[in-house]
Symmetry: C2
Subunit: 346 residues, 2 copies
DNA sequence: CTGAAAGCGCTAACAC
DNA sequence: GTGTTAGCGCTTTCAG
């Protein structure tokens, strides 16, 4: 099928079907209004011309772009966001199924010595009515975006709970980090480990505290000690490596549960240095089930967030939010699973 | 600053500045046409009202959305696309600097037993004039997208050479894979290795052949044998692992140069099984410098594609393509670099 | 159930 | 330099 120079318009279809433009519009947006015979005639004309409604014209009229905005921060090496790629793909798919596209945008370029503008990129998109809503993901940073968007009365949904804002009214979807750490810890307990260390982030991160709580409550529930068995560091491989070495020297844990794959990989580094075999000599569990966990030898057991489900729920919340009468659903908390690999298998 | 319920329009600004709508439009699009005093008065009104031109209205009028489309395939585990995240981020940044946003879309959902429609997603975007152009990335699949878009006379740029289509007229940006493999091989030669194996993809991939050629010509150039020193497998960790084991048994190479990080990680698996130390006993070089290469113990030396530069060149080509008189630049070939880590360091 | 008229917000062409 | 006119392609009234 060859496309003509200029895409067909409503008028072209109307001409060909021998009806008015209006009727074609109805055929698309309110097919029930048409007599079946007319409908099929219009449908044929649409197919024959390969007609698709002009996006801009429809957006101008309906004030809806069917676009959701997602801000991507610059690539950061050696650190978090290891699962961002998977999430973005899942979001794109879920959005397609709901008739949306994802508009990616960037913040301001970082300037040395200046704080990054938290709402950079959002305002222009909002005022130019280029997107219908936003998906906010980096809630772990303290999430000034959510507050900023709420203040601007912009529709948005968040991947991540509004930890610090009890008055938050926006829909959110999150994964139960405590449950994930509990899963990891129980898995290690089942494998016979008792001296299970927690390798976490420095205080101040609610996500980090949540995950740590899962380990702590599981250990305590079994009457096992936790004191001295934990370390808190930056979320980098190097930091995890150092902390793991210190813990091994101080208390000799037989297993590590970690707040991230990044830290878990740090543990693997230390084990490799000491010629300890992951899974055989010391067990390690990561968090996020990133690509790294999937391929790093010998395979890193990791808590897997159901990102596909997160995306579906986010889009569901979005559709509701943008629909005729928003249902004002509060939040959805999803359960992670455990991807078991050789790092916890003797 | 508090945003009003409805975003300000051109008319609002005109009223406030005491000029006509057209003058405001000129102030934005052709500031030179205004007398400085008028311009500054309009500018003040724009700032005061927080005015940003309505995207849909402008798009309808100018037939330009300032959006570039990028299709994302579903997440695939254990295989390629390891560097996609970095590329997307780079593309978003480069696009911002040129005044574009990136529209992400998905293909059709995969149906069991059916071939995926190569142009799924593209046609609708094209006919609805939702994007100005596309960026095509997965040229390694034989790239029916490029041909399809060319046939539809849709503006697009490709990350990847049009290997199989000498008549291709579209702009492209690519990274010299042969040069990358040469870099890797020379690095290993400098480290004293002579039995350097090539672990590549199965025949049929032009990218794979290109990379292999870099190894082959470097070895041959030094008068070193290559026969028996190579294997071709699927691009998976498991396949790389098996092929590495077979090569070690058959010819005992002291170093592996690989067509991808995925395969290199496969080699690392085999080394771990045999308690061989990467870098110390056997050297390994990957390709792509993915997150995995950066964090896998002890650190994987890898050929790094200059994705940020690729993104900049792609956007440059795009701007030219969409500009008033396209310059019809053919292609840009960029040089990779080598990220040296412990897997090649004794 | 179908058609005619109006207008979303903007910019390209032309007058003043 | 600035204002006026027209229209991009669509959907939302409102009549027939």
């Amino acid at each position: 099928m060859d496309l003509p120079r200029l895409p067909a318009t409503l008028a072209d279809v109307a001409d060909r079907a021998g009806v008015s433009r209006q009727t074609v519009s109805n055929a698309i947006n309110n097919p029930d209004l048409l007599r079946p015979e007319t409908l099929s005639r219009v449908q044929h004309a649409i197919d024959a011309l390969g007609y698709t409604p002009n996006h801009a014209a429809r957006q101008l009229r309906t004030r809806s772009s069917r676009l959701v905005g997602l801000r991507m921060s610059p690539a950061q090496e050696f650190t978090a966001n290891m699962a961002m790629d998977r999430f973005v793909r899942a979001l794109v798919e879920a959005s397609r199924d709901a008739g949306y596209h994802v508009l990616l945008f960037a913040g301001e370029p970082l300037v040395e010595g200046e704080l990054p503008a938290p709402m950079a990129g959002y305002d222009d998109l909002l005022r130019s009515t280029a997107v219908d809503a936003f998906v906010v993901t980096d809630t772990y940073l303290g999430n000034p975006q959510a507050a900023g968007l709420a203040e601007r009365r912009a529709p948005f949904v968040a991947f991540g709970r509004p930890w610090d804002d009890a008055g938050a009214r926006h829909p959110w979807v999150d994964v139960d980090g405590a449950a994930g750490a509990q899963l990891a810890t129980e898995h290690l307990l089942e494998r016979g480990h008792e001296r299970i260390a927690w390798l976490g982030w420095q205080p101040g991160s609610r996500i980090g505290e949540d995950r740590r709580a899962g380990w702590h409550r599981t250990m305590t529930g079994r009457g096992l000690p936790t004191s001295g068995l934990e370390a808190a560091t930056d979320d980098t491989v190097a930091a995890g490596r150092g902390a793991a070495a210190a813990l091994l020297d101080a208390v000799g844990p037989t297993a590590f549960a970690c707040a991230s794959d990044t830290l878990a990989v740090g543990v693997l580094h230390t084990l490799a240095e000491r010629r300890l075999r992951p899974g055989q000599d010391v067990a390690v569990v990561g968090f996020d089930d990133s690509q790294v966990a999937q391929v790093v030898p010998p395979g890193l057991t990791s808590v897997r967030q159901p990102l596909e489900q997160v995306a579906v729920e986010l889009v569901r919340a979005l559709s509701d939010l943008l629909g005729p009468r928003p249902h004002t659903s509060r939040g959805v908390l999803l359960e992670p699973t455990l991807a078991v690999r050789a790092s916890t298998t003797r």
